[in-house]
Symmetry: C2
Subunit: 252 residues, 2 copies
């Protein structure tokens, strides 16, 4: 796998000339950049509604700040009142969840709304995704206390969540797709909170409808978690589009 130290431009070089309708894939990157290139960040899709992105960004600030004030001396009654006022304004305007599921698939699918990387999702951690020339994908993230399991450590299920998503992204980058069928994780050492973590995933093997994908989490040079997944080509119906089916599992 590509190491950061081999890639001085890590994350600094967007894939040039990629149109919004084109797949962010190893093949597209090779056509533009040749066989060897520094990791390219996933291009940000233009927001469907910049104010939505801003509201979600504020909710992320609020989630971190509010959780951080637990067991402190700060009075939160007035804060709760102000948040309630905003929620009271919004809720009457909310479409039904069923309508929401339909609307979600009218734009960029779940790429902007998924719970791992979606800029429109208030629970998503601040993960940055990159595609690498060796066929792997990487992500960088530092996780705060809302993601805690054991003291000072990332919750094992949060590691599992991000890895599952990363493996879907690795499949996408490698031109494969599929839904997770089987997934195994080995926790090798504690995954620290508040330190930069590197997630990596790559397609290890494929055959017919099956894709085997591997992944790791490192804190610096230390291996924290290893994982393997089996993905099967499959599709599910798209809500609100009779007859339409989606093969999208976990888009980056």
């Amino acid at each position: 796998m590509t190491k950061h130290s081999d890639s001085p431009g890590f994350g600094g070089v967007p894939l040039p000339g990629l149109g919004p309708e084109e797949e962010f894939s190893l093949e597209a990157a090779r056509q533009r950049l040749g066989e060897s290139f520094a990791p390219v960040p996933v291009p940000e899709l233009a927001p469907a509604d910049p104010e939505l992105d801003r509201a979600v960004a504020e909710l992320r600030r609020l989630r971190e700040a509010t959780a951080a004030l637990a067991h402190s001396e700060v009075e939160l009654g007035d804060i709760a009142d102000r948040l309630a006022e905003v929620a009271d304004l919004l809720e009457p305007r909310v479409p039904t969840p069923e309508q929401r599921l339909e609307m979600m698939w009218t734009g960029a699918g779940t790429r902007r709304s998924n719970p791992v990387g979606g800029q429109e999702n208030p629970i998503a951690p601040p993960v940055k995704f990159f595609g690498c020339d060796d066929g792997s994908v990487t992500a960088e993230v530092t996780l705060g206390p809302v993601y805690q399991g054991p003291p000072g450590c990332v919750h094992g299920g949060i590691s599992a969540l991000i890895i599952d998503h990363m493996m879907g992204f690795a499949n996408h980058w490698g031109g494969r797709f599929g839904m997770t069928a089987h997934y195994e994780i080995d926790y090798r050492s504690p995954t620290p909170l508040l330190q930069p973590l590197t997630f990596r995933a790559w397609v290890e093997e494929f055959s017919g409808r099956k894709t085997w994908t591997h992944a790791t989490i490192h804190a610096g040079d230390r291996l924290c978690v290893q994982a393997r997944g089996l993905f099967l080509e499959a599709s599910v119906p798209v809500p609100g589009k009779p007859g339409a089916r989606s093969t999208i599992a976990d888009a980056p």
Copy 2:
């Protein structure tokens, strides 16, 4: 495993007389209720700060409402401004993440702050946990669009997150403890959003430091996900308490 249909009082009967310092465990339940009892809900710990719980509850309303308004006609600029004002008030008062990690372990540990069931955690889904007389634990939850992976379905990583936590809870209920060492999931059929899901977990076997725990997710009678975990007795240092170590992995 206990079925809902066998348990007319499902969730309705709190474990009587359990003091706040006592373990919520099968053994404690048997001492009070005998060998056979309807599923007992995990007792709510008294909030350290009721205003914190209220602020977090408002943030959960806001996360659902804001995500639900994506791709709608509703203008969110004013909402974003109001949220920014509140975040601006809070952030200067936030302790450092390191201080926060210490404070988190002064009260009820992560029981109220963890990312699956914690009332103090703005990203936690609305899961309700129960202990059963056959040694299993169950949880009920209906997940909305912020937890979506494939269209209309729960993100596979979100299933993995909740199951990991449930297995830790099953160990706790059964008087075992340990950190997740190895974890396997089989996705048998799509896990639907917006429908009540039943999570179940139980200690299957144990020996010395090892505990093997199994889990399932059902939508009605349909099996969506099966999982198995191996847990090892282990401890990690408690932030801010030199020499202290915690064996708590995922408390309910």
